[in-house]
Symmetry: C2
Subunit: 149 residues, 2 copies
């Protein structure tokens, strides 16, 4: 894959099966170099309410969405279903004002601390995590990984 | 990896560009039908400490990793770098005992509440989110999305 000599991230590259940037971006190349993306060029963004710590949602960012989030202070994502950028709250009014962004140790996830206006979920609930799955296994200290009957 | 008997989800399917299951799994088909996967068949698993709510890490689950997590009570992931399942703590001793698992509204992320033994991060830090990125844009109530100079 040819890489131009200018600090352009992802420009004129096609999607990389190893998870390179999928679209051109103005993201700081030093940050871009740390990202480890899905095959479609995305990292997971975990969004939490900055003061309560409540986990509100997970969305997806490509390099440019991260750039816009960092430089505008408004959480901006890549929509996998609509294939376009979206600024959270632009249509719903449920804005996310960004307080801080942290990258994880292996570069494939972001923790975005926001001040969430209203519900984060399009269903009207505060968080998107409202379907509990049944945990049937029980493990704890002293258990070495065996499944209890 | 052959998995005997039904119910098998995704058995003998090749990876689906639309994000179907990438490997055979014993996951409850009703749950599997709700998952919306990356092109390599994964969903993001956000892991938090069950009592403090602290976000510890993000890892990746395919259908079978989710099945094992739910049925053993030990957080189990798919390693994108090693292409294998890993049980958190199996080698480090930093176990994650699962208290609850919630699926988000669009099926592409899980919130796994655990009792984390020791540090979650392989660097020895409690959480994996220890690299702050600079937020240069400031937005807040009353701001309609314009970037402040």
């Amino acid at each position: 894959m040819p890489v131009p000599d200018a600090p352009v991230t992802g420009a004129e590259r096609s999607p990389d099966p190893a998870g390179g940037p999928a679209r051109p971006s103005r993201l700081d190349p030093a940050v871009a170099a740390r990202l480890r993306r899905t095959p479609d060029g995305l990292v997971a963004a975990v969004v939490r309410q900055h003061d309560s710590g409540e986990v509100l949602m997970v969305a997806w960012m490509d390099d440019e969405a991260l750039h816009r989030t960092l430089t505008t202070g408004r959480a901006t994502y890549w929509s996998r279903s609509r294939n376009e950028y979206w600024v959270k709250g632009a249509t719903s009014g449920h804005h996310q004002y960004v307080r801080s962004v942290a990258l994880d140790c292996d570069g494939d996830a972001l923790l975005v601390s926001v001040d969430q206006v209203g519900p984060a979920c399009h269903t009207g609930q505060r968080t998107c995590f409202h379907t509990d799955l049944p945990v049937t296994g029980v493990a704890g200290p002293g258990d070495d990984g065996r499944v209890r009957a």
